[in-house]
């Protein structure tokens, strides 16, 4: 009987853990840093509740509210308020979700002033209900972009989409060009779109980085493909709860077929 850890209780982690538990003979612990399952999809969706029920039914054990930090010598350092401890296991499945591309991922250069924010952060801040920005530039068309643009426009703000094709969620659409440059020393005031020798200056009070998604990686020892005893469960193309859960199940099934009783 091998002990398997799944880090990340979003839909892909839930699907993965359930499949591992069903494929027999494994003792599966599903871990998440926040105290509820569901990940970015949220805990209260009926589909998420169904996935949690299925996991429990298959015998998956949950450890919620504990963040994984380090994977070394088949031990995972788990941190929870009041309790930091090592958990031994045979294999780690990392389902830590997706993140927007950073300025560096997008080769954005220039200054580093206030007001350049990852889409995930902008989303959290907007959910406080305060009107934060009047003229936003949203870079990219990752899964966060439409939702954020809607919130900003809903509060009376103006949204320019850059490098997002021709989305319906923006007031103004600008092609991505060959390079982007942030201007402003106190707070961002312009995103400069360079296209060969031409430049176009977009005046703004916030730049939201919504390109991607890219896989989140934050457990030392489980950072790159090829890390020993690690399988990454971070499907980039699957969007929505059911497809992500399905992708998680597929990765687990593939692993069970190829590694089976021999993690």
């Amino acid at each position: 009987m091998s002990r398997l850890l799944v880090v990340g209780a979003g839909p892909s982690g839930l699907g993965c853990a359930t499949e591992l538990a069903r494929s027999g003979g494994h003792d599966v612990l599903l871990i998440d840093r926040v105290p509820v399952a569901g990940g970015e999809s949220g805990w209260d969706k009926p589909e998420v509740r169904d996935l949690v029920r299925a996991a429990t039914g298959a015998g998956v054990e949950f450890r919620l509210g504990a963040a994984a930090a380090v994977w070394t010598d088949r031990r995972l350092l788990l941190t929870a308020p009041g309790a930091i401890r090592w958990v031994e296991a045979d294999h780690l499945f990392y389902a830590g979700g997706l993140r927007p591309a950073t300025a560096s991922d997008l080769n954005i250069v220039g200054e580093r002033p206030a007001g350049v924010l990852p889409a995930t952060v902008a989303d959290h801040l907007l959910s406080t209900g305060v009107r934060l920005w009047k003229r936003a530039v949203v870079v990219g068309d990752g899964p966060w972009a439409p939702h954020i643009a809607e919130r900003i426009r809903g509060a009376g703000g103006h949204v320019t989409a850059v490098g997002a094709g021709s989305p319906t969620w923006a007031d103004q659409v600008v092609a991505g060009g060959t390079g982007l440059e942030v201007l402003g020393s106190d707070r961002v005031h312009t995103l400069r779109v360079v296209d060969g020798t031409r430049v176009r200056d977009l005046v703004c009070d916030v730049v939201i980085l919504a390109s991607g998604p890219l896989p989140n990686r934050n457990v030392d020892g489980a950072l790159a493909e090829g890390a020993p005893h690690v399988t990454f469960v971070q499907p980039l193309d699957a969007r929505g709860i059911a497809p992500r859960a399905q992708a998680g199940r597929a990765i687990a099934a593939h692993w069970a077929r190829t590694n089976g009783g021999n993690p």
């Binding site: 950073t102 889409a119 950072l223």
Partner: protein
């Protein structure tokens, strides 16, 4: 406007100004530090490579003396100040016979400075640092080079100064200095007037302007920009030493420098600019930095680049100045273009000596604090599982990439000179330094900072100059 009186007013809260304030605060002299920005260490002192050098220039200079006087004591000082420091050594790499010849020159110069140094064969170079290019023909080992967290050092100097009674005033740009009949001076900011027996000019690139205000020596200062690329510790963790390129007569070139955070810096460039606030990176320079760094350590070309940044050295008509002004007897200049971190402890003592020679009546104050309380760090703690005994909040990880806990963030927000912005938290804890650049944690840090500073979610400061909302 009331006037407050101090024995010494220090202008500038970079690593040198805070080091001087910390040293003075352990004496009987009263001291006030005035910093224009909303935090200490916002200029050169946060944007440098963090090398505590053993060798920088030729023998017989004051800068070399101060490096030599500082270098042996880093472990002891950083232990007391709770600042990350590691004496990992440096390796200067020659890629051609011409460079190998230059290495011999550098070896002779470093040896003349009294620095431990040794020429390595190509084989020894690769043994010392397997990541160095196989094209290396020779190397120079400098075992007393170390890496330090320059921001933590600056914040620690400021905090210990404050603990010992120094007054640290932020957001107070010095605008005028008037001399009084009794030989004292009045230092004037937008918010106050400070009467001082002595003024220390540690304003970095602003030192020329401060000297002009005081009617002092015509110091010429200007910003010299350096650009960097930060690469991930998934790669950088394998680096054993600082890898320097061979110093050529006209340039010191691009290096690969591990940081105390585990990442590595590629850089810096050196370009004179006019605006001290110009800290923009550009695509062409960044591409060149990566290419040049890859000549030394080929694997950096594949390493994940976390971010780019730039900072400005306080360049000037003299590379450094630690002296009493020739015209104004109660004005002392303390600036250094390129090694300010490395000289800071000894420079602070030297400044005290200068002030005393100029008539400052300062004696050691018994009972002055010499250490700051230690804040353990989750990521580097040898036994992380024991930290929740210290504080249960160690178990609450806020920054996932860098494994920074709520306990560390709370400590930064409640330090004697505390973080008051998301950036201030980042500078003091590393939260947000990692590969996701805050996409998971920035909102959480923003809420913690808002609570600690009594702001709403829109008015909380992102950087010291700009808020989250607009």
């Amino acid at each position: 406007m009331t006037t407050t009186r101090y024995d010494v007013v220090v202008v500038g809260g970079g690593v040198l100004g805070t080091a001087v304030a910390e040293r003075l605060a352990r004496t009987s002299a009263s001291v006030c530090l005035l910093e224009a920005e909303g935090d200490v260490g916002e200029h050169a002192s946060k944007g440098n490579a963090g090398v505590a050098v053993s060798y920088y220039g030729g023998p017989g200079t004051l800068e070399t003396d101060l490096i030599n006087a500082s270098n042996p004591f880093w472990e002891e000082l950083c232990e007391r100040l709770d600042v990350p420091y590691r004496r990992i050594g440096g390796l200067m790499v020659a890629l051609s016979d011409r460079e190998a010849e230059r290495l011999e020159h550098t070896r002779a110069e470093a040896a003349a400075c009294g620095v431990r140094v040794r020429i390595l064969s190509a084989g020894e170079v690769r043994e010392a640092e397997p990541l160095v290019t196989p094209d290396a023909v020779a190397g120079l080992s400098l075992p007393d080079e170390g890496i330090i967290d320059p921001m933590r050092l600056t914040a620690a100097f400021a905090s210990l100064a404050a603990v010992n009674g120094a007054v640290i005033r932020l957001r107070e740009r010095v605008e005028a200095i008037e001399h009084e009949d009794d030989g004292t001076s009045t230092v004037i900011t937008g918010a106050g007037r400070y009467r001082a027996r002595f003024v220390v000019n540690a304003a970095g690139v602003g030192a020329g302007a401060v000297s002009r205000m005081a009617g002092g020596d015509p110091l010429v200062t200007w910003p010299r920009k350096g650009q960097y690329v930060v690469v991930d510790r998934a790669f950088a963790g394998a680096l054993r030493q600082i890898v320097f390129c061979t110093h050529l007569p006209d340039t010191k070139g691009i290096n690969v420098v591990p940081t105390t955070h585990g990442s590595a810096l590629l850089g810096p460039t050196a370009t004179d600019v006019t605006d001290p606030d110009d800290r923009a990176t550009d695509a062409e320079t960044i591409a060149r930095v990566v290419a040049e760094a890859a000549r030394l350590v080929p694997a950096v070309a594949e390493a994940y680049a976390i971010k780019t940044f730039a900072a400005n050295r306080p360049a000037g008509d003299e590379p450094y100045r630690l002296r009493v002004d020739a015209h104004v007897p109660n004005l002392v200049h303390v600036t250094d273009r390129s090694a300010g971190v490395s000289i800071s402890p000894a420079a602070a003592q030297y400044t005290l000596d200068l002030l005393q020679a100029a008539g400052l009546d300062a004696v050691e104050r018994p009972g002055a604090h010499t250490a700051l309380p230690r804040v353990p760090r989750l990521r580097t703690a040898p036994e992380p599982e024991r930290l929740t005994e210290v504080d249960p909040l160690y178990g609450q990880v806020v920054c996932a990439c860098e494994h920074v806990s709520a306990a560390e963030i709370e400590a930064a927000l409640s330090a004697p000179v505390p973080a008051t912005s998301i950036d201030g938290v980042r500078k003091r804890t590393g939260a947000g330094y990692g590969r996701c650049q805050g996409s998971l944690c920035l909102a959480g840090i923003s809420f913690l900072t808002a609570m600690a500073t009594g702001c709403g979610p829109d008015a909380v400061r992102h950087t010291v100059r700009g808020t989250v909302g607009s």
